[in-house]
Subunit: 293 residues, 2 copies
């Protein structure tokens, strides 16, 4: 069993990006520039955005944080999005989710110029990914595929079972892994809350991507020998062992599953850091204008 070290790979990618940014700055005098819109003061969102700002510093990007209070109107947000669309200095930007209930999330995301949509949530990027065209791929699927790639895990002809059909993980990772590509060329099965006998599909899988948000769901009895297991779950569960009083628990019961695997990601330190670095990679691509010119 080999542990997939997402933290290490993410650090490597960050270093690669920082190297490229130096060259870009030397030749063009401009750093890639990521902006983020943050609404309200939700603890999780604050933490994520602070992490993104720090990642930008590490990569040598310029970053801008635009804050609004919880009671911001949809119209104000839309006009800020339009402003960032027009701002030639901003290469890419994100709107940190979730947004307050009175704001139509889809409406905001669709207003973003898809050429600056480094989160990859705009329908144009989702659609282009589905049909195999160059695009911004959203962070978690991007991170998962990059892990498979960097560990040279064979995917062609393998049966990949995706647990979960969310718009940000299950569906896009299924879409990526069925493409004629490497990584890719998998036979893909998407299981979810309505699937009968999930165990049957898992036992047949060469690769399992667990993204249900159900802590410890996948156990050793559900995995065949030699499987590759990618754990996307990050549920906070109470813990007496940490200062914060909680710890992250994945969808995989690591103790029972790991001994059967050829490769497995830990939680934390697996997919999480890759998700974080994926945004940096997309920002670099945006700065280099390689996808949309």
């Amino acid at each position: 069993m080999q542990l997939i070290d997402g933290k290490k790979i993410a650090a490597e990618i960050k270093a690669e990006i920082a190297g490229e940014v130096k060259e870009i700055y030397l030749s063009k005098g401009k750093q890639p520039h990521l902006a983020a819109i943050l609404v309200g003061h939700d603890g999780g969102s604050e933490t994520y955005v602070a992490g993104k700002v720090k990642d930008c510093e590490d990569c040598g990007f310029k970053s801008t944080l635009v804050r609004f209070e919880e009671n911001v109107t949809e119209e104000t947000l839309l006009s800020e999005v339009r402003k960032l669309n027009e701002d030639a200095d901003v290469d890419g930007f994100i709107v940190q989710l979730p947004l307050p209930r009175h704001i139509n999330e889809h409406k905001i995301l669709q207003e973003i110029d898809y050429r600056k949509d480094v989160d990859g949530f705009h329908p144009v990027n989702v659609g282009r990914m589905a049909i195999g065209l160059p695009c911004f791929i959203s962070a978690t699927p991007f991170g998962i595929v990059e892990l498979l790639n960097r560990y040279n895990i064979e995917t062609a002809g393998k049966h990949c079972v995706v647990l979960g059909r969310s718009n940000i993980v299950g569906k896009p990772v299924a879409s990526l892994l069925m493409q004629k590509n490497n990584p890719g060329d998998c036979t893909v099965t998407v299981c979810h809350s309505r699937t009968k006998d999930i165990k049957k599909y898992c036992l047949d899988a060469d690769i399992i991507i667990a993204a249900l948000g159900a802590p410890g769901f996948l156990n050793g009895d559900m995995v065949k020998d030699g499987a590759v297991v990618i754990d996307v779950g990050t549920t906070r569960v109470p813990s007496t062992e940490t200062k914060s009083g909680f710890r992250l628990k994945g969808d995989v019961d690591f103790e029972s599953v790991a001994p059967k695997c050829s490769f497995i990601t830990p939680v934390p330190g697996g997919v999480g850091p890759m998700t974080r670095v994926a945004l940096m990679k997309n920002t670099l691509l945006a700065g280099k204008k390689v996808i949309y010119g």
Copy 2:
């Protein structure tokens, strides 16, 4: 075994559309208007477009056919697309594929205003379908789902195996059937040329959608009792029994598969007529401005 009569259902839908069009015309004085761009004189394309024009007549739509010779430039085509985008009288339009090799198909399709993209090939429509938002759904997946719907075939919790991963059938129908929806809520497996042991997946399937373009590929040994089989294949094979010298053959070996099925589509007369009527349905939706206002 019940034969799914696509021809009959398509005729019913056409009659429903014609009825609605009459009402729209009475209240608003305007018929829905479909335009088609046809490049060159390919026999297949001529036939398809002629069929679409006739369907428009049957539905009470206004139709416009814009023709270009094989040597038309990409720029001329793009400017025609822009003209139709701007034309307030045109509710929806299509560019008949395939286009000559010197034309970038993706570039043309992406130039179409997605709000008039009744073929559903624009990335915005593909992306919106993937994330479950209202959109124009492309013809064949639309037709398949409508057949399941009209025959009250239960899909929730069923294992649906899709054979083929094309952008116009396999991927979108897989995407539709995994959504939280009815029809939908299937556990979906997408198999393709790189799949090892396709038979294994088929034998486990409650619903098989065969879209490989491999005549007679699916035989009785690959199907479990009670399965629903949807045959999307329409390969022309030589025939001494028809005046044209060929006949359409599906991906399913009907003789051996049909006796095991609960429901099965024939070829011809199954998915084909539904694909054709789907464009009419999208044109009606475009005329009513119900998706994008």
